[in-house]
């Protein structure tokens, strides 16, 4: 038994490092495909959508500060229905984990380690995440907090340095071209924020669950702000038409950016090193969330035994996409389906719980098993 230990800063750090992941590399491409020069705007709208989703999830979790998502969903809509929902969530996050790992593997095999088989990079990354998930939620929070500054600083540095080559005219007109496509792009970008669902596992272990809203807003605004900055930097340097030609514009941006006085002529190697950490924390969160939910679904006290049990399934799912184009199609559609699971479903739960006047104990400072 450990006490509730996670602070607001830690919770925010978990959110930020969960959100920033593989998605950063292709993000400007998604945004530009949706809105041309309006890419920063469409990113902002996507972030807004994600903020709304996260706020609703946070409100729901704060209603039941001592229960996990699985437990209170059963309280709200009954056992059988809630179990279907929980199974869907588990499947979704295990797929998300495997797609993250696969996207990581594809980037590495295309751009850096060209003769290393993609299977090896994927399994190494998954193994790393699997080993790390054998810790409890407190250690989980510490790992995220440790990596948090490491993610933020280099990305901001690259964005700032790339401004040397930026042209404002590329960002005009700010509202983009086609409002219809914008809606779709908004959903695609909001889907990059689905890792925030990890908050439902964090809140039951927070010192003061009543402050969870502060953490979630800070977390998503920092990550969302960073996303907008990256998109704006990429579009202003390359122009929207050129970005459509690039698979990973952010990586290309790092390639085109040099440190002053030619200390480093291209920053892509440095950027990739940081990006591996970002991918790891994202993978870690979704993997952790999956096994955490499985253990709760089966009413187990421990989630550790699932760490390695899940590994082969996730790995095989990761290897299913036949090629990189198909992989991105799958990622986009899985992401959009995921919005139903991570935003629409909790929203329904919230309204039903309000209608049925269900809520958990508001007592905050009691001893809780962090593994629950």
């Amino acid at each position: 038994m450990e006490s509730r230990q996670i602070t607001v800063i830690q919770a925010a750090a978990i959110l930020v490092s969960t959100i920033i992941g593989v998605g950063v590399l292709a993000l400007p491409l998604f945004a530009v495909q949706a809105a041309d020069s309006g890419a920063p705007l469409v990113t902002m709208l996507g972030v807004l959508l994600a903020v709304i989703g996260l706020v609703l999830v946070t409100l729901l979790s704060m209603r039941f500060p001592n229960h996990t998502f699985i437990q209170y969903s059963e309280l709200i809509i009954g056992k059988s229905l809630a179990r279907i929902g929980s199974v869907l969530i588990i499947i979704f996050f295990s797929i998300l984990t495997s797609l993250t790992a696969r996207e990581f593997g594809e980037v590495v095999v295309t751009s850096v380690l060209r003769s290393t088989p993609v299977e090896v990079t994927v399994i190494v990354m998954l193994l790393l995440a699997a080993i790390s998930t054998r810790n409890n939620i407190i250690t989980f929070a510490y790992i995220h907090t440790f990596y948090f500054p490491l993610l933020l600083v280099p990305v901001l540095l690259i964005a700032a340095l790339s401004l040397k080559n930026a042209e404002v005219i590329n960002l005009l007109p700010v509202w983009g071209t086609d409002p219809k496509k914008m809606l779709k792009g908004m959903l695609t970008i909001a889907a990059l924020f689905q890792g925030t669902f990890v908050l439902t596992a964090v809140i039951p272990a927070m010192k003061k669950p009543s402050k969870a809203m502060k953490a979630s807003l800070w977390g998503i605004l920092i990550a969302g702000g960073l996303y907008v900055i990256i998109v704006a930097a990429a579009v202003s340097v390359f122009g929207s038409e050129e970005i459509k030609q690039l698979l990973w514009p952010t990586l290309e941006l790092a390639k085109a950016t040099s440190l002053p006085a030619n200390i480093l002529e291209r920053l892509d190697a440095a950027f990739l090193a940081v990006w591996v950490t970002a991918v790891f924390t994202t993978l870690f969160s979704s993997y952790y969330l999956t096994i955490y939910f499985i253990s709760h679904l089966f009413r187990l006290r421990e989630h550790k035994q699932f760490s390695y049990f899940l590994l082969p399934f996730v790995f095989v799912t990761a290897m299913l996409p036949q090629n990189i184009v198909q992989m991105y199609e799958i990622i986009e559609s899985v992401g959009r389906i995921g919005l139903y699971i991570t935003i629409v479903y909790p929203t329904l739960l919230l309204f039903i719980s309000i209608l049925r006047k269900k809520r958990g104990n508001p007592i905050a400072n009691q001893m809780v098993d962090p593994n629950r």
């Binding site: 080559n165 007109p173 390359f238 122009g239 038409e241 030609q245 085109a256 040099s258 002529e265």
Partner: protein, 412 residues
């Protein structure tokens, strides 16, 4: 406990197994002497008849995997010789310093860039490595045929940097690979520094391969590349801008017209000198631009974009041809300014007209329309082709204001 005698052995084996991952190397390990570091590439268009005889069937074979019918190319590369390139200004490793000994130049033919590189790889024992590629020279003939394949290949290759230079050579491009300029030990680096220094002296715009690609992609802008020529003593001269329609070269400017481009775009620092004839050819002075500023405004009149270009340039007086002109009077300086303003307006307008004829908007005026008049753009232009024809009809008004600030160390 005699049964468990094997336990320590198993434990030891387990420990050994744990050590194994730490002893492995990198999967993609490639020692520096095992890679052929390509510093420069030249690409020429060649006639298919000569080339077919020379070429081996490496990436195609007649019958089952036929070669494409597009014209063939001759690719030459400059490969750095490990150990021969002196590091730093001091004499390192006993290199004699002549350029021919630091690099190895080989050429092959192929149906496309990739095909040629494969033919080359078939001959070179080490793996070709493009991470340090700094200069790509294409011949004018190939540029006029179209650079789609060149752009595609180098954009797809993750090793190539966006800060490399792509340039168009007058005549054969391969000469630039075999040349041995004296200033730099590595010929490719000399080519590169010619252009990099050009940027710093205000003689050339920033036009790395990445920027060229961006410009080609943009709907309201066309790409342009440095147009170079082999001069005496195996030296390299920048003789203008080669301008493009999409990936096809359609024309080239004169060297001074680079200054025109820089003026219209307001690129700093400024660094071109021009003659100003005052009264008759005898009484000329020469001025040097030091600072440029430009403002481009667009308005739509009768469904045709009308651009107003405000150019302001600061000058220094550099030289005069004879002593008849005294320049110790502000009024004379003013008359020189007036004279040059008139000439400049004509000069800039002519340059714009020249690109208009070909529909090659290297200045990116179309981007201004797209950015500031989006409704007009969506109603009348929409695509890059749309802008190409619209550009030909666009109207331009050039306003130039010049200020001579300094006259050097001589009093009159």
């Amino acid at each position: 406990m005699r049964i468990k005698w094997w336990i320590p052995i198993v434990k030891a084996i387990c420990c050994l197994c744990l050590v194994v991952p730490f002893l492995t190397g990198c999967w993609d390990r490639l020692e520096i002497e095992e890679r052929a570091v390509v510093l420069g590439v030249s690409i020429d268009a060649v006639s298919s008849d000569d080339a077919n005889e020379e070429e081996d069937e490496v990436s195609h074979i007649s019958g089952s995997i036929p070669a494409p019918s597009k014209g063939m190319v001759r690719v030459a590369v400059q490969i750095a010789l490990p150990g021969r390139i002196p590091l730093g200004p001091g004499e390192g490793g006993g290199g004699k310093g002549s350029a021919g000994e630091t690099v190895w130049v080989i050429d092959v033919v192929g149906h496309s860039i990739d095909d040629a590189f494969m033919n080359l790889q078939q001959q070179v024992s080490s793996k070709l490595f493009f991470g340090h590629l700094r200069v790509i020279v294409v011949s004018e003939k190939l540029a006029r045929r179209g650079l789609e394949n060149v752009n595609d290949y180098f954009r797809r290759n993750p090793e190539v940097r966006r800060m490399a230079w792509l340039m168009v050579a007058k005549g054969n491009a391969i000469k630039f690979m075999t040349a041995t300029p004296q200033l730099e030990r590595v010929p490719a680096l000399y080519l590169m520094s010619t252009l990099d220094e050009g940027i710093r002296m205000g003689k050339f715009p920033k036009d790395y391969i990445g920027i060229f690609w961006s410009n080609v992609s943009k709907k309201g802008q066309e790409g342009f590349l440095p147009y170079v020529e082999m001069k005496k003593e195996q030296n390299v001269g920048i003789i203008g801008l080669a301008y493009f329609n999409d990936a096809k070269m359609v024309g080239a400017t004169k060297p001074l017209e680079i200054a025109g481009y820089l003026g219209v775009k307001g690129v700093n620092p400024a660094g071109y000198r021009v003659y100003i004839q005052l009264d008759g050819a005898q009484e000329s002075v020469m001025t040097n631009a030091t600072h440029r500023r430009s403002k481009i405004k667009v308005s739509i009149i009768d469904n045709v974009p009308q651009f107003t270009i405000d150019i302001a340039i600061e000058l220094n007086l550099e030289a005069k041809l004879n002593e008849n002109v005294k320049i110790n009077d502000p009024r004379i300086l003013q008359s020189i300014e007036k004279k040059q303003e008139g000439l400049s307006v004509l000069f800039y307008s002519n340059l714009i007209k020249k690109t208009q004829v070909k529909g090659a908007d290297i200045f990116g005026f179309g981007e201004y329309v797209r950015a500031f008049k989006p409704q007009f753009w969506h109603a009348h232009v929409k695509t890059a082709e749309g802008w190409r024809s619209m550009y030909k009809e666009s109207k331009f008004e050039v306003k130039v204001s010049l200020k001579i600030r300094r006259i050097g160390m001589k009093a009159q």
